[in-house]
Symmetry: C2
Subunit: 203 residues, 2 copies
């Protein structure tokens, strides 16, 4: 008898579904599945329900393209935020990271990716056209490009800078340099180079 | 506006549900959730369906207490396996590990845990009474105690050994020693002690 036949189909089905999640291998998927088999019924059913409701009850904000229940999203519809400053991020989780700092009071624009020729992602696959229209319509003063500090984020930033050159708007980018708590000895040379280039007067 | 309000409720609900899985922290839970938001609909719905079916379509085998669709399970009902040899394991995944070796042709008994006074798990919380009845009923020749090689597994093994002392059955335990591919230099002293105690003649 082959090994597989000893494992019930509902178990293998869930192991396979879990295995398709990022960072979850077959061993972790088994562990999660057998954990759920021992956990109370309402837990696995609650997880199933949360999964089913995830897509059914969320959509993209028509203005900033963040994930939201209501359109416009809470940030776009909030009073007291500066609609003329737009931070452009790759993903909703990047937006959350900026919100966690607690110091940003402007609006956002989620591109849903970065330009990546290797992966076949061009400007038309991202919410770039929507950003350009929005910058004009909102009479924006500043666009803060907050794409990731890597190859694809840099390519996207350069593309946006070029596209926004004609508009009457200040285009800025997040500072590059040493991460807080980092150690000069272990920092990579690109980061150190950027930190040197971006050095500022001590006040 | 607090940060939380920027995250839609269906998203936080799934993040929370994922966070309760073993080894999944809030960051991983967020990553999985936002991955699903970008993945095709049928994937998250498929995962939800697999979760819902997991408990509804599985049960414990009435003989060996492995997780199964049909009772008795494929192993207990298989022809050509030796029903008089019973390997006692803590969890269904332990059974799978033994099956993967491909050399075991006997039956199993899943205890669904190990004796652990610290966690309030006593013999009555495990399938021990069922094992004792089964050993008599099946006219078993050998019970192989295959609990985990740790404190709780050892306590369970000793308890089983004592309980089975009266029965006309050979009680054996999996060998303790050096793991294959291990390095003597890095092996812990308890393992090395067991390997010394269990040394065998070279043939």
């Amino acid at each position: 008898m082959p090994i597989q036949s000893a494992i019930p189909q509902p178990v293998t089905a869930l192991v396979e579904a879990f295995s398709r999640l990022p960072g979850v291998g077959p061993k972790t998927a088994s562990r999660l599945t057998y954990f759920l088999l021992r956990a109370p019924d309402d837990y696995s059913l609650g997880l199933a329900d949360a999964l089913a409701r995830l897509k059914a009850h969320t959509r993209l904000c028509g203005t900033c393209f963040n994930i939201t229940v209501d359109d416009p999203c809470p940030i776009c519809s909030a009073g007291g935020r500066d609609a003329t400053t737009i931070a452009v991020v790759e993903e909703p989780l990047d937006l959350m990271a900026i919100e966690r700092t607690g110091i940003y009071r402007g609006h956002y624009h989620v591109l849903h990716g970065a330009i990546s020729p290797v992966n076949g992602v061009g400007p038309d696959d991202l919410k770039i056209r929507e950003l350009l229209l929005r910058v004009k319509a909102a009479d924006a003063r500043e666009v803060i490009i907050a794409t990731n500090p890597g190859l694809e984020g840099d390519a996207t930033a350069m593309y946006l800078q070029r596209e926004l050159a004609g508009a009457d708007v200040t285009v800025t980018r997040l500072a590059r340099g040493l991460p807080t708590g980092g150690d000069l000895e272990y920092v990579d040379s690109v980061t150190l180079m950027r930190a040197l280039e971006g050095r500022s007067d001590m006040v």
